[in-house]
């Protein structure tokens, strides 16, 4: 028997509709994923809720006293909120343990990336490698056809092109398509984003109308396993526990000519484009231009030097179109809150590409994703090298 994996998928998977098969919902205990349950139930789907236990809060005890307790990752309160929603709407709900996978595929790479001078996006790894991988598999193993999540994005089947397409959310201010570019055709064929056509206000209104116990719950903005938002503190604590040696703490801050203009306390404390604490040169504010982990150096310069017109990307995933093989015009977004900029994507091989922007872009940051859009469609994406 041969193994079918997502990457070997070569024909368009079909979705059996309008049959009302069981749909699993990834529930965080927040208002969005809870509303997904209400929406799908109203549409007449049988549903089952799954809440992932991703991170043991009791780990890294030195971080325990920071931050509001109720907004911790995988806090019991959130699990119980999801259970209350399931009770309220009367559908089965289970908490499932993905701590091992989350640490291997999200936390550890996140720390490693920071320590190698890059600025990672944990949410993308979590989507591609946890939610829509082992969780989706478990959903299907327990009899569900698809996995629905509270993401603000849309999925559309393009029969002509023979592909599943990923689109921006109708509500542009909530759009999360930037974090979903890594999904394969098979993953998309098995996913459901019922909030993609709704605004946040509409979601809240729906939650209130169905009397969800979480209708008024505030949103969490921080990375779930670093609820304080203090990455540096997390990275230090985790590295100590995991026995990862931190790079030489003390290092040089140099200008573009290599002249030493100061000292820093570890490159993982800096991100590209950062200005804070760097001072001025010739009356102009200084920004971090690059992080050189080999020489343990932070390179700084003025705002002009921060702007570049080209970058290379790796781990390319083509979503709404096939690998174009030809240079492709697109709007490219280089971080979540970046306004997509006109560019040409030159595929170099199946895995890498070079992007040339029409106008210089500020702080193109290794470790972040470049996502290629054609209007609302996500053509593809890749990691900035």
């Amino acid at each position: 028997m041969s193994m079918n994996t997502a990457t070997q998928f070569d024909t368009l998977p079909t979705r059996t509709e309008p049959e009302r098969g069981l749909i699993a919902i990834a529930m965080s205990g927040g208002v969005d994923s809870s509303t997904v349950a209400a929406v799908l139930q109203e549409q007449g789907h049988p549903i089952v809720g799954l809440t992932m236990q991703l991170w043991n809060q009791r780990r890294l005890p030195e971080l325990q006293d920071d931050g509001p307790k109720q907004h911790r990752c995988c806090s019991l309160d959130d699990v119980y909120d999801a259970k209350r929603v399931a009770q309220h709407l009367n559908f089965p709900h289970y908490t499932v343990n993905f701590e091992d996978q989350f640490e291997q595929r999200v936390v550890r790479p996140f720390v490693d990336q920071y320590l190698s001078g890059r600025t990672p996006i944990a949410c993308t790894n979590c989507n591609t490698d946890v939610k829509f991988e082992p969780l989706l598999r478990m959903a299907r193993q327990i009899g569900a056809e698809r996995l629905a999540t509270g993401h603000y994005a849309r999925i559309r089947k393009n029969d002509e092109a023979g592909r599943w397409e990923l689109l921006r959310a109708r509500d542009d201010s909530k759009d999360q398509s930037y974090f979903l570019w890594g999904l394969s055709q098979e993953q998309l064929s098995r996913s459901d984003f019922p909030l993609g056509e709704l605004t946040k206000e509409e979601v809240r209104a729906l939650a209130r109308r169905t009397n969800l116990p979480v209708a008024e719950k505030p949103e969490s903005m921080e990375l779930c396993f670093v609820p304080t938002g203090n990455y540096v503190q997390f990275i230090q604590a985790y590295s100590r526990e995991a026995g990862i040696s931190l790079p030489g703490a003390e290092g040089e801050i140099v200008n573009e000519d290599g002249a030493v203009i100061g000292h820093h306390n570890g490159v993982h404390n800096f991100t590209i484009g950062q200005r804070k604490g760097l001072g001025f040169a010739a009356g102009k504010p200084l920004y971090v231009l690059s992080l050189d982990t080999e020489k343990n150096r932070v390179v700084v310069g003025d705002d002009d030097s921060l702007r570049t017109t080209t970058c290379e990307v790796t781990g390319v995933n083509w979503v709404s179109c096939e690998n174009p093989r030809q240079p492709l015009r697109a709007k490219v977004k280089i971080r979540h809150k970046h306004e997509a900029a006109g560019a040409t994507v030159h595929p170099l091989d199946a895995n890498t590409a070079r992007i040339t922007f029409d106008a210089p872009q500020r702080a193109v940051t290794p470790g972040q994703a470049a996502v290629f859009y054609d209007g609302d469609r996500v053509l593809g994406g890749a990691w900035i090298r």
């Binding site: 193994m3 699990v79 289970y94 343990n97 478990m138 193993q141 009899g143």
Partner: protein, 392 residues
């Protein structure tokens, strides 16, 4: 949905006869068993009858039975009661095993933090302890041996009689956590040679929140709780009369029905095990060759995510269990299964099915249809199983 419950080791329903016996003590006979008036005396009489019933279940004297809030309290009382009495002249030493319940393991770890030394004896692949290893682990400062009678996850029964003989000669107190064995087959504290024994109501068809600790008459042990003069001041707190009555009644029923129920359960369990083994490839019974309580079986399903299987079965109406559930409801690999030499992955692929007095043959037939279907459904989507099948 029709639900089939094969998780009796997690908890049992209250037996209808037990419930009937308890009901008067919530309303008409509600009085405090310590009160001198007539209603109080009626409650006292009920408590003392229950004490006799529980004592009789394990071959003890009534005055050796202390009612507690359940297995966890009984285990903690036994361990800290002995350790605290020993004092701190020299650090006391405890001998236990790696497959105890958390109520013993975590109590031992807490004792270690307070200065005690603890030896955690290993068990073999069948979950059995070598009695000789207990003998060689005893030191001059050893104050307590605490070894579980029947294991909650595997059902394996430890050779307590042998250990009991050894420790008699060595004059060390011997405690057993009999939460999973009490009421499942006849036992006698004198034959087992134990000084302390824990049992819990909700594992033997009495309600949750009631249990007992057997304390052999001459045993010198400190109390844990301080308060009034209830239970000779040794375990103060107004007696949970209805719970105690329920526990007494349950003990009486268990003793009455041993002859029928033990055999009947073993037959059903064996039918279930054989049925699964013949219907599903690549499974095996964990610790299946050890002496076991008649209602429990623990099965390893190759290339199956146990957590997903429990959920898939629950969605079909079959309740069973996997690993240890933490407070969120997520599952951790069982320390018992790793203690008998299973890998973390094998432990995550193992499920426990535990039958009980109300399990019927029809329910076993349902389970024998539902489980093979669910396992096939899971394996069809398991990358590891497809790899294994390629070797066929």
């Amino acid at each position: 949905m029709n639900r089939v419950y094969l998780d009796y080791n997690a908890t049992t329903p209250v037996h209808p006869e037990v419930l009937d016996a308890m009901l008067p003590y919530f309303s008409t006979d509600f009085a405090n068993a310590s009160s001198i008036h007539t209603p109080g005396q009626r409650a006292r009489a009920a408590v003392e009858t229950a004490r006799e019933q529980v004592a009789s279940l394990i071959g003890a004297k009534p005055q050796e039975i202390v009612f507690t809030s359940g297995g966890t309290e009984s285990n903690n009382h036994a361990i800290f009661g002995v350790v605290n009495f020993a004092g701190h002249a020299q650090p006391p030493h405890i001998i236990t095993t790696t497959l105890e319940h958390e109520a013993v393991l975590n109590a031992c770890q807490a004792a270690e933090k307070r200065g005690a030394a603890v030896t955690y004896l290993p068990v073999n692949r069948e979950g059995l302890l070598d009695a000789a290893s207990v003998d060689s682990a005893i030191r001059p400062e050893t104050v307590l041996i605490t070894i579980m009678h029947a294991n909650n996850e595997l059902g394996t029964i430890q050779p307590l009689e042998k250990i009991g003989r050894i420790r008699r000669e060595r004059k060390v107190y011997f405690h057993t956590d009999a939460v999973q064995s009490a009421g499942k087959f006849p036992m006698d504290v004198n034959a087992l040679n134990v000084d302390l024994l824990s049992l819990s109501g909700h594992k033997l068809y009495a309600p949750k929140g009631i249990g007992a600790l057997y304390v052999r008459t001459e045993t010198r042990i400190n109390q844990l709780l301080y308060g009034g003069h209830h239970q000779r001041g040794f375990r103060p707190g107004t007696e949970n009369v209805s719970g105690i009555v329920g526990l007494g009644k349950a003990a009486e029923i268990a003793q009455r029905d041993f002859a029928i129920k033990t055999k009947q359960l073993a037959n059903l369990r064996d039918k279930f095990e054989k049925g699964l083994l013949s219907r599903i490839p690549e499974i095996r019974v964990n610790a299946g060759n050890a002496p076991r309580i008649p209602n429990t079986t623990n099965i390893f399903f190759a290339a199956v995510d146990g957590e997903a299987l429990v959920i898939a079965l629950d969605l079909k109406g079959l309740a069973c269990s996997v690993g240890a559930a933490c407070s969120s409801g997520a599952v951790e690999p069982s320390h018992v299964l790793t203690a008998i030499g299973l890998t973390r992955e094998e432990a995550k692929s193992s499920l426990r099915f535990s039958l009980g007095h109300f399990t019927t043959e029809t329910e076993i037939d349902f389970a024998l249809e539902a489980i093979p279907a669910a396992v096939a459904q899971l394996r069809a989507l398991s990358p590891t199983y497809q790899r294994a099948a390629a070797h066929d």
